[in-house]
Amino acid sequence: MCLGIPGRVAEIDQEDGLRVGTVDFGGVRKRVCLAYAPEAAVGDYVIVHVGFAISVVDAAEAQRTLAVLRAMGDVLERELGP
């Protein structure tokens, strides 16, 4: 049950006084409570755990990590190259 899954916020509305949304997980859509993600907007990626968004994925940080890893390839090739 600890496996939080990233999904994209498709809609946001209210239900019984709570902020909720529809989140798209690669085609599967689920209702998710957004009470703990007040900053989440439509189009954002959120990490969802047992029906709650617990974190908004920072797109810039996601790309930065990948860029660091890709850049490491160049460094490695220079280090390990002929």
Binding site: M1, C2, L3, G4, P6, G7, R8, D16, G17, L18, F25, G26, K30, C33, A35, Y36, A37, P38, Y45, I47, H49, V50, G51, F52, I54, S55, V57, D58, A59, E61, A62, R64, T65, L66, L69, R70, M72, G73, L76, E79, L80
Partner: protein, 369 residues
């Protein structure tokens, strides 16, 4: 899907492994705390690809596995009470109690239901005012905000036939217990990313300092785990012991402040028994007095429970990393995911189930070491 596929790129994984091989000069032993990470590591075979004698020990981070037998037996006693609907997550239903499991109890007529979220249990209570709806609320800091909101929401809606059987556990005290255990071999930790998404990482700084152990907040995809391992090994090789954050796309230093506030409002810290490990001081959450009316322990008197573990199960040694499933005679023989003797064989987050699903067999034992 975005933010998943990119972190499974085999080419980048190869780069990370090459870099790890370059920086590693001697063997190191690391522990990943979270069962979700154990699942990725074992299923992707990451532990078998690591260079230079780097060993991964699988930690006590499977919430299903560490839920005490007493709590399961209590849940089953409550489920047997007429007029009750007992709810929980699907993987809790197959965990063996002293005599049976919730799924078998359901087959015999008890009203036991799987819910996706604790909020579904609140809805069930609203729709069934003549029944008592109980939610078996287990899990780490990641699940606690959802359970806190279920209680807050039931209180706000004036629902009185809803209660929770709480058995929450906290990660930092478990890490402390692992580090204090005699013969502890763990030299560095991958901290559980989603626990830290809720709680942040300031709690880990005194641990890193006191035990001089690097702790790297790490995500769940293969690249996250490889980078987390690399960051931990770099610290060890350089003689550092700091808290670092690999999972910056999801984890901020202070965590999720709204979720933490809800946890503080609904729960207080208490001593907690961990299945197979024993009681760890200040390692759990229980309802505060303000919300005691939602406590299923108070609402249902089930008498005295006599609990009994299966004598062949070595779950405690598995959960603390003292043994691997391949050290257990029951693994893959009398104990399988279809006929589990203990909790680590039940949940996808359990070490034994992860080994079994990945096809690891007793005969691979020497090859894996």
């Amino acid at each position: 899907m975005k933010y998943i596929d990119e972190y499974r790129d085999p080419e980048l994984a190869r780069l990370l492994l090459a870099e790890l091989g370059r920086v590693t000069t001697r063997p190191w032993t690391l522990m990943e705390v979270c069962g979700g990470q154990t699942n990725t590591i074992v299923r992707q075979g990451i532990d078998e690809l690591l260079p230079g004698g780097i060993e991964m020990i699988h930690g006590p981070g499977c919430p299903v596995c560490v839920t005490p037998l007493e709590v399961l037996d209590r849940a089953m006693a409550i489920a047997a009470t007429p007029g009750t609907i007992l709810t929980s997550f699907g993987d809790m239903l197959r965990v063996p109690g002293s005599r049976t499991d919730l799924l078998a109890q359901r087959a015999r007529g008890a009203d036991v239901r799987i819910v996706y979220s604790p909020m579904d249990a609140v809805t069930l209570a609203r729709d069934n005012p003549d029944r008592q709806v109980v939610f078996l609320a287990v899990g780490f800091e990641t699940t606690a905000p959802a359970n806190a909101m279920a209680v807050l929401h039931a209180a706000a809606l004036g629902i009185t036939n809803f209660s929770v059987l709480v058995s929450h556990v906290l990660v930092p005290p478990a890490m402390t217990a692992v580090l204090r255990a005699p013969g502890c071999r763990v030299q560095g930790f991958l901290a559980a990313g989603h626990v830290c998404a809720v709680m942040g990482w300031s709690e880990y700084e005194p641990l890193a300092e006191q035990f001089r152990v690097p702790i790297v907040v790490t995500g769940f995809e293969p690249l996250d785990l490889l980078e987390g391992i690399l960051m931990t090994v770099r610290q060890l090789e350089q003689g550092r012991h700091e808290v670092e954050n690999q999972y910056a796309r999801a984890v901020r230093r202070d965590g999720n402040t709204a979720a933490r506030a809800a946890i503080r409002r609904v729960f207080r810290v208490t001593d907690r028994a961990w299945r197979g490990i024993g009681t760890i001081p200040d390692s759990g959450l229980t309802l505060t007095d303000e919300f005691a009316a939602f406590d299923a322990r108070r609402r249902f008197d089930v008498g005295r429970l006599v609990v009994r573990e299966h004598p062949d199960c070595v779950a405690g040694d598995i959960l603390t990393g003292a043994k691997t499933p391949l050290d257990c005679a029951a693994y893959g023989t009398t104990c399988t995911p279809r006929t589990p003797l203990g909790a680590p064989m039940v949940s996808a987050e359990g070490t034994c189930a992860a080994y079994y699903t990945a096809g690891r067999r007793q005969e691979d034992r020497h090859a894996s070491r």
